[in-house]
């Protein structure tokens, strides 16, 4: 079993691991020929199934994968991986490989960075900034190289351990819509969540224990006419924000015939009048969990949200530069809470 590669898009990889680590501590990393998958299945909350082409984060020409089954499954502490990758952001080269020390398998990240120093440690250095200089001379500016090795303990999973895991399946969505700026959505969501939590806390003594147990639930709904509504209702308040003129992306006619498309629930929903409540598909989601999901916004992706009325919300998160590449997609499965 061998895995070794140079990293090519460290910032992307780093941001990806950052957003994954907000949802779970441990991630299933599946290395295949040409494809890397990251999966997080927490005990409770949102599942992520991320699939990336190798070249999205690795240098394809250096990607070496050897295994009996052609696949390596690793269990990776994603927080530690993210932390380690921060060292690589400014790297000249960085290499990731699977190795072991004693009996502990490791993902070893070796990073070479170089920087310019103002002089050869001249006495009386005061400035903390490094001044890049084109020439390195005797006592002049010179290049200094630093080698950083991060060893992340991992667990190698046997194929049988993961064969039972598959992506959740769900009926066809009622509404699919491209979300507005995740940053905006996130800050409004967090504000609502906080308001509701505060209102609940101050509301008082009647049912403190019960109300404290569950964090506020946001109501997210959308229709096929480009509108998205984010709201929250508690005993004390009811607020909502509505976005309009969003895009309901058309489905790929290459995959479905016109007749099949006609049958889809989303087409039925499109038939309703924009003002008609029946045209809205609604889900209730946990405020805090939603905030963690939206942390994927740091990758500045395009996000298509698929609403399955009162059942689930599925987010397809496409990384920039791979807008049409279907194989580079993070899929978030979020369950809807009952009212």
């Amino acid at each position: 079993m061998r895995f070794r590669t140079q990293l090519s898009h460290v910032p992307t990889f780093s941001k990806l691991t950052a957003s994954l680590s907000s949802l779970g501590k441990v991630c299933w990393m599946r290395l295949e020929d040409g494809v890397v998958r990251f999966t997080i299945i927490p005990d409770q909350g949102t599942q992520v199934w991320a699939q990336l082409p190798v070249e999205a984060i690795f240098e394809e020409s250096t990607y070496i994968l050897e295994s009996n089954s052609g696949v390596i499954n690793l269990e990776v502490p994603v927080g530690a991986l993210h932390r380690a990758l921060r060292s690589a952001v400014t790297a000249t080269t960085s290499q990731l490989r699977l190795t072991k020390k004693g009996n502990v398998p490791l993902l070893a990240l070796t990073v070479h960075t170089s920087s310019w120093t103002a002089g050869s440690n001249a006495i009386g250095i005061t400035a903390g900034t490094e001044e890049p200089g084109p020439e390195s001379g005797g006592s002049g500016p010179r290049e200094r190289e630093t080698v950083i090795t991060q060893e992340i303990p991992v667990k190698v999973l046997h194929e049988t351990a993961v064969e039972g895991l598959h992506e959740p399946r769900c009926r066809d969505p009622d509404v699919h819509i491209i979300l507005p700026s995740l940053f905006q959505l996130k800050s409004i969501s967090e504000r609502f969540t906080k308001l509701a939590a505060d209102a609940r806390a101050s509301a008082g003594s009647s049912n403190v224990a019960a109300s404290a147990a569950a964090s506020p639930k946001l109501e997210l709904s959308a229709n096929m006419h480009g509108s998205l509504r984010l709201g929250i209702v508690t005993d004390a308040l009811s607020i909502s924000s509505i976005w309009t003129d969003l895009v309901n992306p058309p489905l790929d006619p290459g995959q479905l015939s016109a007749a099949e498309i006609e049958q889809l629930p989303s087409e039925r929903m499109r038939g309703f009048d924009p003002a008609d409540d029946a045209g809205w598909a609604k889900v209730r989601i946990d405020g805090k969990d939603w905030g963690r999901v939206l942390s994927v916004g740091r990758l500045s992706p395009k996000v298509v949200a698929c609403f399955v009325h009162e059942t689930a919300l599925i987010l397809y998160v496409y990384l920039p530069g791979s807008w049409n590449g279907e194989d580079s997609c993070l899929t978030y499965y979020i369950n809807s809470y009952a009212a």
Binding site: E75, N121, I125, T149, E151, P153, V154
Partner: protein
């Protein structure tokens, strides 16, 4: 009664604040010591593995600095009259000095800070009074309570260090930036023209917990990055990352080169740098694999060991010799006897003067009171020697002795040295001239039982007390030999008081017990000692843990 007052310019206030921030990372309490020519702030962590000291020069750091002692006052309240020491909660100090100099509000920015000590035996309130003289006539006053205390310093003999490097702190900062936040240990070694810093955490994890194992991070930088780098290759020393970070964070604010000195694993390592009237030193205990170092140390056997390993020396340590004895007691083990080294009662300055002394010289003027030799009769325990490797030796720089510390096996590798100086020998004649090798129980003529009250007075270390002790001793019948001879008693016997070095354990026990227990400890019988012994035994596991999990990254 002590009088102390000084004033600070705004720039000095900033430095003081930075120093306090640094101290707060080591301990909740900052010790303040005033001497004629300097004010020293220091902190020692709870585990006594890390010590931070800032010596502020009286002329250079302060605008004005006045320190005086009235000798005529009741000496017994202060064991040592030529200095004042107390400790104060760091957080309190930080809140007083916090951001005062930065001056958000320009008009009322601090223009000067005056500090005055109000100590009067007759008054119930002793206070440290801090006045911030601000713009527009605003004056902020603070009165802080303080706790008079014995200050302990880590001792470090720079002359005997074999490894040394010097570097800009920002390079070290860059290194620590790569480390995981949860990392606890830092391993430093060099190989192949690189200096390698590895952070890791010793955590016992079984197979299922593999994923929770902390990340090992190693950062290799070129030796070129150092101002100088004189270190034995592949010599691993391990320190606490938290301490390391605290040091470089402060060194960065000072913007000066930082120098590290050390010998071997399990010996102290010292970071030091000086700037603008401030001398800093951070003495950190290291761990690591000492096997290799044992070999190397035997190959350079002449190198005296770090003084910090030595017996917490008694009084007047500042003048103590650092290499003592022509004749040494036959050690119970084959291990070579380490010279008793003086310690840096005077802090940084003292360390440097000591380091200039030829280590092997005999200082006849030494006031050093040798450790009692009775310990060598203890059952030799080879294992204990290792334990000692994990503790710093401490020096209570005031007159209080710290013999209770020397009792502990943690200092076992310090062989007791006998007084060789003539004066002391003469003194000892009165103590019957019994060869120091004699067993305590055989010394029938000696008053082995010293009454606590007399002892307390002798602690006060003036000239009159010593004779009192000597006179009183022979009057006691041999019958007074108590079954519970305690070592402290023995000390008094074998090395009688000379001048003002007190032979008596007083507040020395601070090191291991609270002061409230002092009186009880006077009579500490042997079994109590056993309890003392137990402590290091617990520590002993630490190094083996480190060793087992030493990074062996390829």
């Amino acid at each position: 009664m002590t009088s102390l007052s000084f004033s600070l310019a705004p720039e000095a206030l900033v430095r003081l604040h930075n120093a306090l921030i640094c101290l707060s990372k080591f301990s909740h309490y900052a010790s303040i010591e005033a001497e004629y020519d300097l004010l020293r702030l220091s902190a020692l962590n709870l585990a006594k593995t890390a010590y931070a000291g800032f010596a502020l020069d009286a002329d250079e750091f302060f605008q004005t600095y006045i320190f005086g002692v009235n000798h005529s006052s009741n000496v017994s309240t202060r064991p040592r009259a030529d200095k004042f020491s107390c400790q104060i909660d760091v957080k309190t100090l930080l809140s007083v000095f916090k951001g005062r100099a930065s001056g958000r509000d320009k008009d009322t920015a601090v223009e000067r800070c005056e500090v005055e000590l109000r100590e009067d035996i007759d008054e119930t309130e002793c206070r440290l009074v801090i006045r911030m003289i601000c713009g527009l006539g605003v004056i902020r006053s603070y009165k802080l309570t303080y706790e008079p205390t014995t200050v302990q310093h880590a001792t470090f003999d720079r002359s005997s260090t074999t490894n040394q490097w010097c570097i800009e702190p920002r390079f070290l900062k860059e290194i620590t930036d790569h480390f995981s936040l949860s990392a606890e240990q830092l391993d430093i070694f060099s190989a192949h023209e690189k200096a390698i810093f590895t952070s890791y955490t010793t955590k016992i994890t079984d197979g299922k917990e593999i994923l929770k194992q902390p990340v090992h991070t190693s950062v290799a930088i070129e030796k070129q990055d150092f101002e100088h780098f004189i270190v034995e290759d592949n010599l691993h020393v391990v320190i606490h990352l938290k301490d390391f970070k605290a040091v470089i964070a402060h060194a960065e604010t000072a913007g000066v080169m930082i120098t590290a000195r050390y010998t071997n694993p399990c010996r102290p390592l010292q970071f030091a740098y000086d700037f603008g009237g401030v001398k800093t030193e951070f003495t950190l205990m290291t761990t690591g694999e000492s096997d290799a170092s044992d070999i190397s140390s035997s190959s350079r056997a002449a190198v005296p060991q770090l003084s910090a390993r030595q017996t917490p020396a008694p009084v007047n340590v500042s003048q103590s010799n650092n290499a003592p004895n022509t004749r040494q007691m036959p050690p119970p083990r084959s291990r070579s006897v380490r010279p008793l080294t003086g310690n840096s009662a005077r802090g940084t300055a003292e360390v440097s003067t000591q380091s200039q002394r030829p280590p092997a010289s005999i200082n006849l003027d030494s006031l050093f009171v040798p450790a009692d030799d009775d310990r060598q009769w203890d059952v030799p325990n080879e294992d204990e020697r290792d334990e000692t490797e994990d503790m710093l030796g401490w020096d209570a720089t005031t007159d209080q002795e710290t013999f209770s510390a020397s009792m502990g096996p943690r200092l076992r590798d310090i062989e007791p040295s006998m007084p060789l100086q003539e004066e002391q020998a003469i003194d000892q004649e009165e103590a019957t001239g019994i060869p120091p090798t004699q067993r305590m129980s055989q010394v029938s003529r000696l008053p082995l039982h010293d009454d606590p009250a007399g002892r307390t007075t002798s602690t006060n270390t003036n000239d009159t007390r010593g004779p009192f002790n000597r006179q009183s001793n022979p009057t006691k019948p041999a019958l007074h030999i108590p079954p519970s001879i305690d070592i402290r008693t023995a000390i008094a016997m074998l090395s009688p008081p000379k001048r003002n070095h007190s032979l008596v354990v007083n507040d020395g026990q601070h090191m291991f017990t609270s002061s409230s227990q002092l009186t009880r400890l006077w009579k500490t019988p042997w079994r109590k000692l056993a309890a003392v012994i137990a402590t290091p035994r617990h520590d002993r596991r630490v190094p083996s843990m480190y060793i087992n999990t030493m990074p062996t990254s390829e």
